[in-house]
Symmetry: C2
Subunit: 212 residues, 2 copies
DNA sequence: ACAATAATACCGACCGGTCGGTATGATTTT
DNA sequence: AAAATCATACCGACCGGTCGGTATTATTGT
């Protein structure tokens, strides 16, 4: 989720530089394949600085997930779709924004939390929890709009929380399919998946033939 | 995708034992975090045997993806839902089977290809391609039934290939959300996601109010 | 005002251990 | 006997992490 940089403040302290490096390198190589030395090199910082700020590589992983959480949370909270009047339009607006963010190599639009949790869910409870918080936080930000849309359209048979989680599910799955594709095809695959997610919401919220 | 063992022939040769070990360990720890020594230990085989059969760790990764591909392909090809008369029922039957396979710790029902490609998509083209083939092969096996169902129900606006890929997307995403959850909650999260996928198909193929 | 003190931020050499991989030798199978 | 199938010992690079130290910036005592 979310492209690199523009909406994130420039990293000044060694700590911030390391977190930025973590986001970039973990996205491209994964957590385990990224070494502390490599992180330091990429951040232009020494190993001493690394262990001054982080007790361990695992601690950096947790901090990176939190950092990511905060960055994405801030970004989506400020997105313009929130001003739309109809709650369903806000939900679809979110999906459309996610689609718009897709482009370029996968590592530029994929999710740090989803990448990291896949590798560390068994070896590090702390990282798992931090990644879970990041993804679920992203889902929770949608819940109110989904709940409002459900009430307005009389949708039953599921919950807003479940639907919000499903949005995250499709996003994470889209990133995996995109990674498996050739660089050039990754974005199309991801957009295709989110297109189906969008249609699911359209169908779900317009069961009486409002569509077509 | 797919639980451990029952439908796979017992591993006898060192090669097969190593592939089995790879499936187990990569599912639980990821590719990068799994060392060659660990693979050998788990397989009850020496390092000499490893490098006798595989030129490198990367080569094992490719072979593991192929092995996985073959095992899952065989399993799903033999599944009973293929005998259903209505193509839509066959598609829903596939999803129901996927739901039924979910249970226990995530590493017992997650996908080797999806896990591996997330870590290696940039560092190893060979692994990326092998994982892509595995996941897309799984999708392609659904395509004919989806195409038939689309024709029968007059569904337009997308393609059978795109829908089949979307099934894989949701499955892969479900595994990630499940990994992020506490061990006990993982299966519920995954089933929940596949439930939404099922409802998407129900809605898509019954646009004129056949539902409810 | 200014020195003494202490906390913070960082540096880079170094450590034990593990990594993927190799070289060579011993069995077993054909 | 020749090829396939391992087993063992070993290699250099690199791993995460430690350590003694320094430069800079508050804080405090007088």
């Amino acid at each position: 989720m979310i492209p690199n940089c523009p909406f994130r403040p420039e990293a000044i302290t060694a700590r911030d530089k390391l977190l930025e490096a973590a986001v970039t390198l973990v996205r491209a190589q994964g957590y385990a394949a990224t070494s502390v030395d490599q992180l330091c090199r990429h951040a232009g910082v020494t190993k001493g600085a690394f262990f001054h700020y982080f007790a361990s590589k695992e601690a950096l992983g947790v901090a990176a997930a939190d950092y990511w959480s905060h960055a994405t949370g801030t970004f989506f909270a400020a997105a313009p779709f929130h001003t739309l009047g109809d709650p369903l339009d806000r939900v679809l607006g979110y999906i459309d924004l996610r689609i718009a963010l897709i482009g370029g190599p996968v590592e530029n639009f994929s999710c740090v939390a989803g990448t990291m949790v896949q590798e560390a869910f068994r070896s590090s409870a702390a990282i798992r929890v931090a990644c879970d918080a990041s993804m679920m936080g992203n889902a929770r930000a949608l819940e109110a709009d989904i709940a409002a849309a459900m009430a307005e359209h009389g949708v039953t048979g599921t919950t807003a929380a479940s639907l919000a989680q499903h949005v995250q599910t499709v996003i994470q799955g889209a990133f995996i399919l995109a990674k498996a594709a050739d660089v050039a095809d990754g974005p199309d695959r991801a957009r295709d998946a989110l297109g189906h997610l969008r249609r699911y919401f359209e169908l779900l919220f317009a069961p009486n033939g409002r569509l077509q």
